[in-house]
Amino acid sequence: MNDPDAKYPTSNDGRETADMAWRVVSYLSAGLLFYGGLGWLIGKYFGHQQLFIAAGLIIGIMLALYLTYARVTAIGRDATTSDLRNPPQ
């Protein structure tokens, strides 16, 4: 997928960037939905619904951002210029 001898970005790289950008939006909304929903469920049974929904939303955002970081650095590990810092394991 990533040609190690390519010195310039190819159209494959453009597609990968756009693909990754849409995945970011989907991870963020999925994190908000899922953990916000979990917070709402917990709030329904234990009271203080707004606190749990807010906590769920924040945790969802944090986890979605961590997942984005994990996916982006995993792609970066295949690319050429970061091979020196993150040698493939």
Partner: protein, 75 residues
Amino acid sequence: MSILAEVTGSLGSIGYGLAAIGPGIGIGIIFGQGVQAIARQPEAYGVIRQNMILGFALAEALALIGFVVPFVFGK
């Protein structure tokens, strides 16, 4: 004390509209500078792309929070 000015109606929509200004500008700056950086040094494409996507994710998170909050905390 009498009310001098009042905003009624769908405050959530106004809130989301205001919340979308910042991330819109931010994402524009991120990708604009990213494309400029790639144009200056195409070999560094991998590193630039990583940081572009991370910056975009952080800015987009704020826009999505602004979208959800009126539903959760509104009346």
